[in-house]
Symmetry: C2
Subunit: 232 residues, 2 copies
């Protein structure tokens, strides 16, 4: 019987530029009695990664936020009032290029990490002496067609973001045609369920996940190439 545990990591506290996130995570998981074990997936919200990496900028008002969003974009797909749906330099399609002022001092905004995969890999290698874990850096994105936001993976290290079930047989013995599951996004969403947006919990552990690991994973594997995208 497959069984997963999703565990919120409390006590990370305020994160400053230059903070060693791996150390903070190792200490907080230890302190709450859930030390990391091999195979865990550590899910880290983008906001504390951006803080640790100094991606916090001045943002006095909505006009400034809009300008930041446009500056961070390679393409604006849609605009409605102060909201822009953009394609970021990483290739992500999201609201306002991921520029976000929540959980920050007045007049400040956070930009997405420059290279979220590298951020994830750095946390993973920083934790290597503690346990062999996968790491996801996640953000909260909207979707076309469906209401509500979900957390998705923007940076990935040590876990395959997409599991390709093509060629495996379903329970009737037929070969499945195309079933590529975006497991990294499902893991990100699962972690969001214990972190919430307002609780100030920026890290969760997913324990017991038996899916494939990967040494060359990237959050960009979750980005549909524009040429294959019927809705861009």
């Amino acid at each position: 019987m497959e069984r997963l545990e999703i565990i919120a990591v409390d006590g990370i506290g305020e994160v400053s530029e230059g903070a060693d996130l791996a150390r903070l995570i190792a200490e907080a998981t230890e302190a709450q009695g859930t030390p990391l074990v091999d195979g865990d997936i550590v899910v880290v919200t983008q906001k504390i990664v951006s803080k640790a990496e100094g991606r916090i900028v001045d943002c006095p008002d909505d006009a400034a936020r809009l300008q930041l969003a446009i500056d961070e974009a390679v393409r604006v797909l849609r605009r409605r009032g102060d909201l822009v749906i953009t394609e970021t330099s990483h290739g992500f399609v999201c609201a306002n290029s991921g520029v976000d002022a929540s959980n920050l001092p007045e007049g400040k905004a956070a930009l997405l990490p420059i290279d979220p995969d590298r951020s994830a890999a750095r946390i993973r290698s920083g934790l290597a002496e503690t346990a062999d874990v996968g790491v996801l850096v996640t953000d909260t994105f909207g979707r076309a067609w469906r209401l509500g936001l979900t957390d998705v993976a923007i940076g990935v290290a040590g876990v395959a973001p997409i599991v390709d079930l093509r060629g495996t047989k379903d329970w009737s013995g037929h070969e499945l045609a195309v079933t590529e599951i975006a497991v990294a996004d499902e893991i990100a969403g699962a972690a969001e369920l214990v972190m919430g947006k307002a609780s100030g919990c920026p890290v969760a552990i997913v324990r017991g996940y038996s899916g494939p690991r990967s040494i060359d994973a990237s959050g960009t594997q979750l980005v549909r190439p524009p040429s294959e995208d019927l809705f861009r």
Copy 2:
């Protein structure tokens, strides 16, 4: 410390038209030593709901599948070869109106349940003597912009599909502007992680979720109204 468990439910076996899914689920969870408890969310994949409700039809080839998809649609948004992206009568935007031939005998396909909320509510009330649970009926949908499929909720009973954090304060004490989280889709995706597509496990339990319950929940609350959709 928030903590969730996601538990696959094995041993449901083949589901025939008219099957009592609530009874099958109650028995299978009992048999594997994880009996349902109050507050659990029971996640049920659409395929066994369609089977139980007799939504299995003849589908000899790809042309027939395409025709079924068009028949089930109120609108075709895009077409590429045999693939159509459609809006179903429920309002869901998905590939081929959710018509799917996997895990079915040769020459058969499953249509989505006519009213997935009613399907979820029926399972929930069937389980009421066992435990007070929420129920999600889920399917595997593609997304714009991002590769890979994720499970989402198409039918909802007893759990709020969207949690609105507007007006709550973030950890800096600022009011969050707009943060409506599609928790039902995150729960659906979390359940997919233990069920997989090929393993033949059509049910999972999500245990320990502390989010709001709802007595008038609906999967259509997750559908963005076309008038507010910038990508339809």
